[in-house]
């Protein structure tokens, strides 16, 4: 079992001597092998939630537990795809993907095979020896994703992992992620700004309010997906054309719009 449980999580940050309430009594679960997307206005505390599940950040009060145990430190049972990629500039693509496996002490032959599979999956063939700065933003992001997938972790924590990709690559990556999670379902907490993406990928979408971040509503997408048999469609755009899909998307959009009457004008 590797579920993620947020229980009454509050986080206060200090800045210039004043307290900022960032997360206000957040409670939600990502069940074992469930895919939950977290959406919400910029700065509402999505990354902070994810970092707590990773063990890189801790609640001011409340608990975050993974697999029933409170998270105390980072570890390779939970892989993170960081918003800033966090590739090691001095390691080439192959070495970046390899680093976690080497840390586990996996034998060289097994590593090579698994890396080759990821490289192919992410369309990085021929770039194994390139350094991160020689790659486009989208390619760097794919390396970062490959570095997490290759570890085959119980829990995947992804912070806007497709944010830097162009529309086409993004769709390919989304379809890959769906395929992967059908073959080998894992517990995924996935942050995104794209409501489409959230509805397309997630079993449930947790919608957050603007600062201080609270969970406004949790939308059960899986229920609709099964009722409407979205999985009979091969392609993303076919699913996105479904009335049920559009309906869910619009509902979530409304919730987000209500959150940010001032920001809507600024951010478009």
């Amino acid at each position: 079992m590797s579920d993620i449980a947020f229980r009454d999580v509050t986080r206060v940050f200090q800045r210039d001597g004043t307290d900022f309430l960032t997360l206000d009594h957040i409670s939600f679960d990502v069940r074992d092998r469930e895919f939950v997307a977290l959406v919400g206005p910029s700065g509402c505390g999505k990354t902070t939630c994810l970092r707590m599940a990773a063990g890189l950040e801790f609640p001011t009060s409340g608990t975050v537990s993974v697999g029933g145990k409170p998270v105390e430190r980072p570890g390779p049972d939970r892989a993170v795809v960081f918003q800033q990629f966090a590739l090691f500039p001095w390691k080439n693509v192959y070495e970046n993907i390899d680093f976690g496996l080497r840390s586990k002490g996996m034998p060289e032959a097994a590593r090579r095979e698994r890396i080759a599979r990821q490289v192919e999956l992410m369309g990085l063939q021929g770039y194994e020896s390139a350094y991160p700065h020689q790659l486009s933003g989208g390619m760097q992001q794919r390396v970062a994703i490959a570095r997490s997938y290759v570890l085959d972790p119980d829990v995947l924590l992804m912070d806007e992992p497709f944010g830097a990709l162009d529309a086409q690559t993004r769709v390919v990556m989304q379809e890959e992620l769906i395929k992967l999670s059908r073959v080998n379902p894992r517990t995924v907490l996935f942050i995104t700004h794209a409501v489409d993406e959230a509805v397309f990928l997630a079993d449930r979408v947790a919608v957050m309010t603007r600062r201080p971040g609270r969970i406004r509503e949790i939308v059960d997408v899986a229920k609709v997906r099964e009722a409407e048999h979205w999985d009979r469609y091969e392609r993303t755009e076919e699913v996105m054309d479904q009335e049920s899909f559009v309906h869910l998307r619009t509902r979530i959009w409304r919730m987000l719009r209500e959150q940010q009457p001032q920001e809507a004008a600024l951010e478009t």
Binding site: A54, V80, A86, W90, N92, L151
Partner: protein
């Protein structure tokens, strides 16, 4: 492509070399032009118009004669090669010792709060003391020989080596350290493959400053008492009121130090292949 995915050395190196030559071409010519102008001015002022008397600054001809003298027959008890080698030996000894002690100490201070807490106060106290102020103590401890000079050079190079290695660790992006923690990278691997490469650009900045400090201190040390070395040549030439030999000595210091700096640059590029492909 080899399985490790490393770039095939030769072609990559060749490409880089071609680019360096290409990039530096206009600036190379600019540099040459400056030299030509300076040399012409030197020749005109000292030889043609004799505005500057040879008691103050030698002409090119006198300088060449002084060079021939020290290179072929010797001056201040040895030939130029021997003086240069002597100075280089002291610099390398002091520099190597400072690097071997200073860089690990700086890295440890950057990586560990407790090492920082123990070492930093003492370091802050010692740091503002100019290296040359250690000369009297070094002479009392070790006499006028080479050991005292190596000690002073070591000290001069030690401070920048420590400070820059230390801040090199501190400038590593925090998210890289977090990424390593998430990947479960064990301590030794972390030091070798995250901490050191992450700090390397700053470490080399420190080493370049160290090397400069080494030469400054060496010449100062040899001015005070030495039996050989470029500082000794300068000292002897000033006693003999021999401006041409002083200029030769200064030029020798400049060229030797420049060669060592260039060599350090080559090591730097080799050590950080991910930067030279930029």
């Amino acid at each position: 492509m080899n399985p490790k995915g490393r770039p095939e050395g030769e072609s990559a190196a060749k490409r880089a070399a071609r680019r360096i030559v290409k990039l530096s071409r206009p600036s190379t010519w600019a540099g040459v032009a400056t030299f030509v102008v300076l040399f012409a001015a030197w020749y005109v002022l000292t030889t043609l118009t004799q505005t500057i008397g040879s008691g103050r600054f030698p002409s090119p001809g006198e300088t060449w004669e002084a060079f021939e003298q020290i290179a072929l027959t010797g001056y201040a008890d040895a030939r130029l090669v021997a003086h240069v080698l002597h100075s280089v030996k002291l610099v390398l000894l002091g520099f190597a010792a400072a690097t071997l002690v200073g860089v690990p100490l700086g890295l440890a201070m950057g990586a560990s709060r407790s090492v920082e807490a123990f070492v930093n106060p003492a370091f802050l106290l010692i740091r503002p003391i100019p290296p040359l102020a250690w000369i009297p103590l070094a002479i009392v401890w070790l006499g006028l020989g080479d050991a005292a000079k190596v000690l002073i050079i070591w000290f001069a190079a030690f401070v920048p080596a420590v400070i820059n290695s230390y801040s090199g660790v501190r400038t590593i992006e925090p998210y890289l350290i977090e990424a390593a923690r998430m990947l479960g990278v064990p301590r030794r691997l972390f030091v070798r493959e995250v901490l050191i490469p992450g700090a390397l650009p700053m470490i080399f900045t420190g080493l370049r400053l160290s090397l400069q400090a080494c030469w400054t201190t060496l010449v100062a040390g040899e001015l005070i008492g030495a039996i050989a070395g470029l500082g000794h040549v300068l000292y002897q030439a000033s006693l003999d009121i021999f401006p041409a030999m002083i200029v030769v000595g200064m030029a020798a210091v400049a060229i030797t130090a420049a060669v060592m700096t260039i060599a350090l640059g080559v090591v730097e590029r080799r050590a950080m292949p991910w930067r030279s492909t930029r």
